[in-house]
Symmetry: C2
Subunit: 257 residues, 2 copies
């Protein structure tokens, strides 16, 4: 199981420290690429300004970990750009990726003592970080935010449960088809906020083969063989290891249950 975490939990407390990132401009949020899609979408300008006051922009390098499973849940955050992975581990070190967080997605565990998962950057990531306590207080005072959080959490639960079907019942081919379609749709979605807008039939994989394996509950070898199979069958084409062109979308859709 790959462990791409590079910093110790202790260092995480520096995320909001003085030298980590300067205080946001007052109208920072207004220019935010996820302003209208993130959890803050329903807030009016005044409320956003208040929220702005308790949050900080933070850049994460590839592999850097923002939240540590089992550690005190100090932060919550919004993903502004890039892709993060949420993961958990067995006591003997096997890793399972629980999901991916794309721009505008909310991560962290409000109203909880410890973080139920680790959250790490897959590539370059920008997040908007809040101290959990500050965020909770703000949510209490602004029911629209709390409401939005509830809706988000409910749809996150739906998404997570759909993923259980993949882990419990789909074979390797079906799992990879499902993931490719999900990444494909995320990348071609309007306003995705990722670094480079994609053409409409190819995209960059935001993670390595090992990480794909962790996401799908497979081994790296099985994932690699499935890629080769899709390529040989003309379902996808690859240039380099991370650029995928979807040639026969209907085949992937028939496989993704």
């Amino acid at each position: 199981m790959a462990n791409i975490s590079e910093r110790s939990p202790d260092e995480a407390v520096s995320v909001l420290s003085e030298n980590a990132e300067q205080r946001n401009d007052l109208n920072f949020c207004q220019a935010c690429s996820v302003r209208n899609r993130a959890i803050c979408a329903d807030l009016d300008d005044h409320e956003v300004e208040l929220l702005n006051g308790i949050g900080r922009r933070r850049h994460l390098d590839p592999g850097e970990t923002l939240l540590w499973e089992g550690e005190e849940a100090i932060f919550v955050a919004n993903v502004v750009s890039g892709v993060m992975k949420l993961s958990t581990q067995t006591s003997d070190g096997r890793e399972q990726i629980l999901g991916l967080a794309y721009p505008s997605d909310f991560i962290g565990r409000p109203f909880g003592e410890t973080s139920p998962y680790s959250a790490g950057a897959l590539g370059e990531v920008v997040v908007c970080v809040f101290r959990r306590m500050d965020f909770e207080r703000f949510a209490h005072e602004h029911p629209r935010l709390e409401r939005k959080l509830l809706e988000r959490t409910l749809s996150e639960l739906d998404k997570t449960r759909r993923w259980m079907l993949l882990l419990g019942r789909l074979n390797a081919e079906e799992r990879l088809a499902t993931l490719l379609l999900e990444i494909f749709s995320r990348n071609t979605a309007p306003m995705c906020g990722s670094a480079s807008p994609q053409d409409n039939d190819h995209f960059e994989l935001p993670m390595s083969r090992q990480q794909i394996a962790d996401i799908l509950g497979l081994t790296i070898e099985t994932v690699s063989r499935q890629f080769t199979k899709f390529r040989d069958e003309g379902v996808i084409a690859m240039s380099g290891r991370r650029t995928v062109t979807v040639r026969r979308r209907e085949v992937l859709e028939a496989l993704a249950k």
Copy 2:
């Protein structure tokens, strides 16, 4: 995959009809066995009375389905007694159980058009059912309930993600150990509201071998072999098919990751 649903979706709309169950007494909730643990726990007596006015008690026979995946989300409910299963299916009919709902657990999908899963009774079940629309309106007017719903949903999400680790990374032995411990702890928990309080080392399985297989993402044969293995190793003892005595709890705990 076993499909224990016995009624068509159309019949579900009769759940709240006049002949389904009589209107609750005004102080019905006060006597409710899950009053202090369910989502209504934070409400004061007056609020509970109002909530009482929009809910109905409903009895479900074993195998009866309350919510249908993909159908319009008409109801939400609290489990009062018994155990329900939440499940989803692939397009070609493979079933995956998403989780179990015990007394005081909330089921259904507020703020959603369609139900993301099916919910069926494993044994005899009593639920407290609300029309989704009524419940949503009530929640809006009573932030304490909405707040409670948020907390519930967040911890449900935690629980679901932990289950993903089981489906993605644990072997058959580890999966069954995990399930046995979960059922064990649910049954020996104080105030569990189930039909018969259990002694502290044995309990009744609330579901068949096939259902256990669906929950764990295994086949019935594999589940049966694991039961036999645990029995032969002296980890558990069985009397009949559904009564389990835990003899070496530490072995199960070492296996459950």
